[in-house]
Assembly symmetry: C2
Homo-oligomer: 259 residues x 2
Amino acid sequence: MNKYIQDTHAHVLIWLEEAANMIRESFTEQLIIETKSNFSDLVTNMDKSVQNFFIQKIMEYYPTHQILGEESAEQFKDTNREHVWVIDPIDGTANFVKQQDHFCILISYYENDIGKLGYIYDVMNKNLYYAIENAGVFLNNSKLPTPPAISLQEGLVSIDVRNWYGKASLERLATEAFDIRYFGCGGIDSIHVITGKFAAFAASIAGPWDIAAQRIFAKELGLCVSKFDGSDVNYLKGGNWVISNKAAYEDLLTIVKEF
Amino acid sequence: MNKYIQDTHAHVLIWLEEAANMIRESFTEQLIIETKSNFSDLVTNMDKSVQNFFIQKIMEYYPTHQILGEESAEQFKDTNREHVWVIDPIDGTANFVKQQDHFCILISYYENDIGKLGYIYDVMNKNLYYAIENAGVFLNNSKLPTPPAISLQEGLVSIDVRNWYGKASLERLATEAFDIRYFGCGGIDSIHVITGKFAAFAASIAGPWDIAAQRIFAKELGLCVSKFDGSDVNYLKGGNWVISNKAAYEDLLTIVKEF
């Protein structure tokens, strides 16, 4: 890894600790909760504060970089993609509000559309996962192995359940996969694929900030990432997507293609 | 709590620590995994060892007591119910095998069909939840409050997803509840209702060992437990069941009744 990436990584580690502390300390205060697109799409004052914190830090150190954040997506211009940050300050806001657990911070850094650094911070369990291009994937500074091959029939598969009712894909998945799970936080569900605990995670709806970091992890570990139709995921667009163990991917795709 | 219950509780706490250590230490050894009713219904040598450990301890201290254990259900005689233990040595065996996390030990002690002591031990997170009749619910010896009122529309609901495809209940739950989750371990999913993180957990299939402990927690905290049709759960029979926040229960029941 070059000096620029090494320095950037060092900065992000410090920012993440500070942001995670802000979030953990917020549980003693009253949250301000608003809804976005529908009654179960929540945003809190903490989503906004944590995002502003990251934007401020990035602007301080890297004033020319572009930032795509969940809570400020409209300000992003994709014409210059030399240095792009993608941020979800709190992925799994509903879990943050309802459980005070099972949410994470997602951050990634791209240069000319190539993923350089990806971070998934499971805040309450203090587990920081990160991926560095061509250097591998780490959990709290210990290198993680490539997960073993897990077929669909042997593997747990996570899906955003509420969007699957009435779908033929749900029946097939229920009968062809080992079993179904759902934490309700794309970052946490993805971590279970990254660590070989799930065969796959398939989400019918996702923002770019729900995908951008995980793509970098997947590349380092030989996991498959694509849209439900098998085409490439656009890390600046979002949509449906899967992250899957290689041994489960082809079988999974025959199922989600019908979604 | 009388001296007998107090002494029994003290014994169980010691047994649980020993059993949890056995389980945690087992991860360094090769598991022997077999299937039971179908390819995703697993049992391991550890389920059997842990159950035998509890049976041995109970027989040593309480030789006249009856024991209903998941892995030895056929040996149970329900004609004498003066002192009954119900044991699931590893609830969530699939998670134990696939994730090495999100499973638990479930134990309860009943006298003449009245729940006296219930235990849910989240082994990997070292969180021991227990309920004592008329004394309340505790997490690692701290008393837990009654969860706040959570309506179905505000609350996360956990279901055994794979059994719900094609059911009208799934569509209604997906549109009427706040959102759907599933850890895949009845004990862990129930804990989230007990601690006010979920509004409810509804399982379409469960053994008595999946229900008996939780009933005691529910009674102490004013949570609702019933079968899908609203009738009482038989702690020695099993079947479908819900554990629900009181504020979500009536709405939930109109949905699961149609299952």
